[in-house]
Symmetry: C2
Subunit: 409 residues, 2 copies
């Protein structure tokens, strides 16, 4: 067994989640790469020695955050010929060119999917899928904290202060939310995306940014009247032969790909003439999600990506599955009709979630939504209902996907 | 100069768009890969000889579609040691295992991003980004024709037949729409996604599918009453130790990541415990978009993906850019106030798109949205407005992103 040694710098929320995930997925990674990832050492403020860890590692994962000492560790690892994976938007948006150039000189890999967009693979898509495309613009909601706050202000009419307090209570905002709410966090991420999209050396200082602390409930209310929704939008685009990179609260018309991105979600839209546009969205980063993006980078550094699907293994196909259903029946409007339909459903174990009777007399209809039930049992019930003499037409059936994704209240 | 020879099978809508795009992007591809892509030959029904083209090619692009003769051509190209890029969902969903195994034996690449999801890079994301993740479910709107029809039925109350006729008129549905509207096209795509997500040999015949031809305007109307929206949803998920793959019309609750995907768009949501979920969305495939996905695959086959950002080139930063603005002013309610504000805006070249006066007397406010204008000019106007004696507080300014993305009517 070949092992692949990973040195871990930092053991906070993301670092410890990465540690756990690496151990959980080690068997699966060994199966698909032929190498077993092993933790060669962990550096925290109180334990570990950087030079020891470096010497024992094939790759260094930097999850300390901030500029110093992260920058020195990353450059030292590159200088020692080690691959580097980082989630550090501060250091990349301020010292990216120095770090990329050092990695190029040393011939090592430098990966940073986790620095931008939470679980959303926007780095890989811009960097690889769109490698040959001429990108005109990148729009992003790249800060989950501010998107949560603006969503709550919109939904409940809350003030900025109340929505921030709620975000802090739910863990979507830190005790000191300064860099989130003033737009600086989003600005760092947009600098990194702009660097990749346009191959221009964009520095954090090049990004004009504005936060959401001055947004009032009234602004949001008026915008609603105009049919607009307010988001903290990062934009990087080509303008007059140059590029512009900025972050500011902006109103979006309905139908804009980012207008429906609510709660602590991140989303990035990339526009290019060849593809029109692609939008990627998903939850903003919590510890486990960021750790998962970091692990994806580690695996990409271990082996080149597959160039065709891996061999298949047989997994049984399940055909009769549970689902919720919509059932529509046109009935004669007379006593006992609903009771008879409900009885048949009940005998097959179909439980009704909601029922509405529409119309009267010759026009009476029942519209029902069931709780999840095995399709075979539901179909059996519909067959029986279809035979009832008070039906005016065949029952109509459609599926209902019952999950509700809602912003926690 | 090294050239990289690409043989093109098929010269229909996608094939000719690919031909054009390859020539347009050849310089850029040569710059980033060090190899110049050259068309080594084109096979159509009336011209070209397959064996000649094969001999002269490093890679074969198959855009004929359908099972025969596409399958034989693909297998012959693989057998001759050539890489293959295809957009052919039929052949992959019915003969995928045979083709993947042949490519594995021959040690060549087989890429097919364009077979599923239009411009949405769902193959690459499942195959590479999520290579280490345990995927629980893939949900997709993978047929733009049916999504357009259902969207129009929802928006206008049109019947299925009328919405289909409109889709045909706008080029979103073919003259013979059978495989789109009966769910078979989506089923083939879900078979391919399920194969990648679960590494199970899923065949088109394993997919239970149902189309939208029986959906009525009434179903959609009732669902609206229940707060649901109807989509043709492909689902591949783990169930009872096995997997289930199916396509059917299904109602979604608001907030579901696919509920807001309207018009001729495609979207795919991937769920995994580590990442929660990722949603990718974009326009369904037209000729140029599919060609762009094919070209992305060709470039990936030419060189391994980059492992760090390429060197940057200097591009000027533009700071003063055009934008539309929202302007909110609290004013004394007396004659001439709006005229005075409008005059100042007009002198700076700011043109007003909409204005609403709210409240009366001491509570009067003007809420305006401008047409796009240089930020410096708008700020100058706001500075002047801020000095007017009838203002009751500082003017408030936010940006408006003016693009409206709407389903063509």
């Amino acid at each position: 067994m070949t092992s692949f040694n990973v040195g871990l710098l930092g053991h906070g929320t993301v670092g410890s989640a990465f540690h756990t995930l690496l151990e959980e997925r080690a068997d699966s990674i060994e199966f698909s790469t032929g190498m077993r990832p092993e933790l060669s050492g962990v550096l925290t403020r109180s334990r570990g020695e950087f030079s020891d860890i470096l010497e024992r590692s094939d790759l260094v994962v930097e999850l300390i955050g901030g500029v110093d000492p992260a920058r020195e560790y990353i450059l030292a690892a590159i200088g020692a010929g080690k691959h580097v994976v980082t989630a550090n938007k501060q250091v990349l948006s301020q010292h990216g060119e120095e770090i990329y150039e050092a990695a190029r000189q040393a011939g090592v890999q430098l990966r940073f999917e986790a620095a931008v967009g939470g679980v959303v693979p926007c780095i890989r898509v811009i960097h690889e899928t769109l490698a040959a495309a001429h990108i005109d613009r990148v729009h992003g909601i790249v800060n989950g904290t501010t998107n949560f706050i603006l969503t709550r202000m919109t939904e409940t009419g809350a003030s900025y202060e109340d929505a921030l307090a709620e975000a802090q209570q739910l863990g979507y905002a830190e005790a000191d939310p300064t860099d989130d709410v003033n737009g600086k966090d989003a600005a760092a991420k947009m600098a990194i995306l702009a660097r990749l999209a346009f191959r221009a050396p964009v520095h954090l200082d090049d990004v004009q940014y504005e936060g959401i602390t001055h947004v009032t409930a009234e602004d949001i209310e008026y915008a609603k009247d105009l049919g607009l929704s307010l988001k903290l939008i990062g934009t990087a685009d080509r303008r007059n032969g140059g590029i512009s990179v900025r972050v500011h609260p902006a109103f979006l018309y309905p139908g804009h790909p980012l207008a429906a991105v609510n709660g602590p979600f991140n989303a990035v839209t990339v526009e290019s003439p060849a593809i029109t546009e692609i939008t990627l969205s998903g939850p903003g980063a919590g510890g486990p999600q960021t750790a998962s993006a970091v692990l994806g980078d580690v695996i990409s550094a271990m082996i080149p990506p597959p160039t065709l699907p891996p061999p298949a293994t047989d997994i049984p196909l399940v055909r009769d599955i549970e689902s919720a259903f919509y059932l529509y029946v046109e009935v004669a409007d007379r006593p006992g009709v609903l009771a008879r339909v409900a009885e048949i459903l009940g005998l097959q174990g179909v439980s009704i979630k909601s029922v509405v009777q529409k119309g009267l007399g010759e026009d009476a209809r029942l519209v029902m939504v069931t709780h999840p039930v095995l399709e075979s049992r539901f179909r059996a019930a519909v067959e029986l209902i279809g035979g009832l003499d008070f039906l005016r037409s065949r029952p109509r059936v459609l599926r209902v996907i019952e999950e509700q994704f809602e912003v926690p209240a």
